[in-house]
Assembly symmetry: C2
């Protein structure tokens, strides 16, 4: 019997789950649950669409719900709510609020005997795992995370809120020179400006003052003021033609010295180079949906992060097979 999966929210991430579930032969998609009118949704693979409320009548038809909404407004409400009726997986990524979100999902899961796995994806997610493995193995060392080159939705949105801006795309780019320094074992603390630069492609309204817009972007606190920021003004056609993808990626670098005289440098590097950020994040969510299903079968109820899930739960093969083939 296949693991039956539901998708809550049909944006980029939900469509990603719909795509990547097809690579997993032990899983099948039951439906998409949406806040919109389901009759207006045409799914890519003709999976039926339902309202969020419909889900309550489908508790016996779905083994795991993958929540594909946003971390700002959707997930804080939806993940604990759906955890009352389903095993759930989400990609909640507001780092500072993870402990609080975890607690709420944990309470809901324990009260209803379900498994929740939250903050799944690549950061938080796979990058977090690398930070943990690195620190556990080389506790005397130093870990640095670099992001990009990739599109930051949050920074693109921030530019769109500037008066006179019609549309925008912001790329976060790691600074190669600093990456190389860390790679070669330099354990200094680098500033935001030393680690990343921000490149912005901006479409403006007719007659807008580009000078003012550029200045407003570059001095925006939190988002841009602490970085070297490059602003390009382009046409709507150029934005449509050259900047529709959602690539991303990054590097987690852990460096340390060992040896009785600290004479040996040890470098662990984990790098993602992703043409599609949402499709990769979806791939991680789907693997952890398998884990949630299995943990629920073992009655290991409650909320977990990627830290608490043994790797073997993610892979479709048996542990004996994995020890034989992949160890």
């Amino acid at each position: 019997m296949k693991i039956r999966v539901g998708i809550v929210g049909y944006g980029n991430l939900g469509k990603g789950v719909e795509n990547v579930i097809s690579y997993n032969e032990d899983m099948e998609l039951v439906g998409v649950f949406t806040r919109r009118d389901p009759s207006t949704i045409k799914t890519k693979t003709n999976i039926p669409a339902y309202t969020l409320e419909d889900a309550q009548n489908m508790k016996d038809d779905i083994d795991v719900m993958i929540l594909c909404g946003g971390s700002a407004k959707d997930l804080p409400e939806q993940t604990p709510l759906f955890a009352k009726s389903f095993n759930v997986v989400d990609s909640f990524d507001t780092h500072a609020n993870i402990p609080e979100h975890f607690k709420r999902v944990d309470d809901a899961c324990r009260a209803s005997n379900h498994v929740g796995i939250v903050s799944v994806g690549w950061d938080p997610g796979l990058f977090s795992l690398q930070r943990l493995y690195g620190e556990a193995i080389l506790p005397q060392g130093n870990v640095q995370t670099f992001w990009g080159k990739g599109v930051s939705q949050g920074h693109s949105d921030a530019i769109r809120r500037v008066e006179g801006v019609k549309d925008a795309r912001q790329y976060t780019i790691p600074i190669q020179e600093t990456l190389d320094k860390v790679r070669s074992g330099n354990n200094s603390e680098f500033t935001a400006r030393e680690k990343h630069l921000r490149e912005c492609y901006v479409v403006v309204e007719d007659g807008a003052d580009k000078k003012v817009i550029e200045e407003t972007i570059k001095t925006m606190p939190n988002y841009f003021a602490d970085y070297e920021t490059i602003v390009h003004f382009i046409s709507e056609e150029e934005l449509q033609r050259d900047h529709q993808g959602l690539p991303h990626g990054g590097v987690v670098l852990h460096t340390a010295n060992t040896g009785f005289d600290n004479e040996h440098k040890q470098v662990i590097e984990y790098k993602l180079d992703l043409d599609s950020n949402p499709e990769f994040t979806s791939s991680v969510l789907v693997a952890y949906a398998r884990a949630a299903y299995r943990l629920a079968n073992e009655k290991q109820f409650g909320c977990k992060s990627v830290f608490e899930v043994a790797p073997v739960y993610l892979h479709a093969s048996s542990v004996e097979e994995l020890r034989k083939k992949l160890l």
Copy 2:
């Protein structure tokens, strides 16, 4: 109370454990157990040395034994034996024999209520974990492992067995061109010759026939015949001066495409660059010794591989702390 650790075998790996345990404030070293006469052992940090037999009288003094012997002769015998009296961790690395070794350690652990974690290190070990996470997340993809640049002890030993050879050091070197192909998403099956080359530094006896030795090395089945092999003849002084280190490393590359039209390339790359192979392997062993101790406290007896150990068991901090700081 600190986790009390014993070391079985005082070679490169045992000395590595002695070194890296000092970076782990929650652990302490009780002693080194050796086949040699303990009175002839002078440990680097003045840890006492004992005979292997002494260990039987120290069951209550040691929480985890780290077995630092070789995979050919020591570990198949020692790990199951010590598992009768202790929680054990080893770096058994003969891939083909792992299932059998696992079974023997598992039987010993279950009969005596201990935890064993076998085949811990970087390959098998951290590289295995990356292969598992990669395949679980992108099952439609392709994984390739490259080793080096680094010293292969097995290949160095094979050269030393050639008549007329006094000493030798063999470096395994990944072929950059193939690495770049895989990184760019080329999922072909590459041959041994396409993936690695073997560079040998050889010291010969006076009057030995270098031509015959070179030919013997290059045509040696399994070890060299399937590779491009470069042989350098050097003096004993040069070998002592330039080739005493034990660097190693490598790359696990997982590539896959996603998207309804397979239009998006996704690349996961995990890379190790190690000045000291034994000290890094020891670092991994020590982190898994912590895990073995904790699993034993939870009465999760039996043998495990890195696949079955949730990441959280490796790190000294509490899971709440880790979720807050590293997620």
